[in-house]
Symmetry: C2
């Protein structure tokens, strides 16, 4: 990601960040967010992306519009474009985390088996997105891949970057879209294309080192759509990201 | 709201839609959403707003940018400006609801006392936002107004428009921001200004006639911020809107 001019950045959807030829959504969002963050000198705090068309490996341009830049918070809009089409529209508030103050957390990190007893989202030698990040599913949530959906619209698992790279706010954006759609675990739906319309991520903290515990679930499947909420917890037990998306149920 | 030119609308934050002089956020969002919907001929499906500055009664201009307009969905960005300052930045997907398909709902409408046993958010003869919409709180959730917070970061209540006006997608946008911040019911926080940074609403259905049952709650209060999730259920028991916001805890 390179700044070409005020508000204009060049990026590259790298080979190997795709799933079946389409760039992973979280990866594309993280790439755009880096340009937005560069323009205001702050990481993402709340970021919404709407998907306009699938991203393909190759060059992209990110058009960044700083709408407001205050002492603590900045509001930024952006569009990511490939030579063929607009890929993403984004709107977010960017700010550093300010730790402290009263805390009240209703929830706990998901209980997970050790990583080596979980099921890697893709075999380690395969190329593509799941070679670049490691998402490891709780075995009960991975049965959909063998035609045995759990029956519950949820997926729990671990998220890591290769070589123990630390995970920052941009890594958190990737984590929120690094697992399969939770509706794959409901037998009403085929395991097929399930396009996300919109994803919003609240970055709630700076992760402590170590793999992240992730919980994704849907509560409202109706009228051809479903919500998917995500909670990302760090190794110290803190909630560090909270995501929600609206997606279309797969039609097979 | 009147179209002045392609992509440019004139609106008016009417007197009486304010809370202490600032326009209610949901009202301002609904006003902007009407302009966005007019530009693409479809109601909001998923809409995100970031607050740039408080809206005051008076004229506003809404700048609408149609990013993509497909057969079924359209993606639209907008900015609402007053003569003094930018008020709101918005990004959304607009589409008609398409009822049908498999449905799986994990949740039920909140159990509420009859409306006349609930506590109106404002006395009926007062002017201002709560005179134009009727939000009626479950009594246990209204104690914060008398210095007796319930201790639980939640508020349940009824939402209606005056004179039994039907509630459409724009009414749903208003409903998601028509109650007090749920952290008022936690004794750690004063009842004071609690600015919303970002609100995202998923419109999930067309409400059946009658008052709406609303549930708002926060699960993650930390680092000076809190999430607030909202569920809006219609009189037939269907979930018709699902909101989430990120806000700053009040500092007194």
């Amino acid at each position: 990601m390179r700044r070409r001019a005020e508000g204009l950045y060049d990026g590259e959807i790298a080979d190997g960040w795709d799933i079946g030829g389409n760039a992973n959504g979280g990866y594309a969002i993280a790439l755009a967010a880096r340009a937005m963050a560069d323009a205001v000198g702050r990481p993402p705090l709340s970021l919404t992306a709407h998907y306009l068309s699938p991203g393909r490996p190759g060059p992209v341009e990110i058009d960044v519009d700083v709408l407001r830049s205050g002492r603590r918070m900045a509001t930024v809009a952006a569009t990511m474009r490939s030579p063929e089409a607009d890929v993403l529209a984004l709107l977010g508030t960017f700010a550093d985390q300010t730790p402290g103050g009263p805390s009240a957390i209703d929830g706990t990190p998901p209980e997970l088996p050790p990583i080596d007893e979980c099921v890697l989202a893709a075999p380690p030698l395969e190329s593509g997105f799941h070679h670049r990040v490691r998402s490891s599913l709780r075995p009960v949530d991975a049965g959909f891949r063998a035609g045995r959906p759990s029956g519950s619209a949820e997926i729990h698992g671990w998220f890591e970057l290769p070589d123990d790279q630390p995970i920052d706010a941009f890594g958190l954006l990737m984590a929120t879209d690094a697992f399969a759609p939770v509706v794959f675990n409901r037998s009403e739906f085929p395991v097929g294309w399930s396009p996300t319309l919109e994803l919003t991520v609240h970055v709630r903290g700076v992760p402590a080192p170590g793999p992240l515990r992730c919980r994704f679930f849907s509560r409202f499947i109706e009228n051809g759509m479903f919500d998917e909420s995500g909670e990302i917890w760090d190794s110290a037990g803190a909630l560090v990201a909270h995501s929600r998306q609206l997606a279309l149920v797969p039609r097979g």
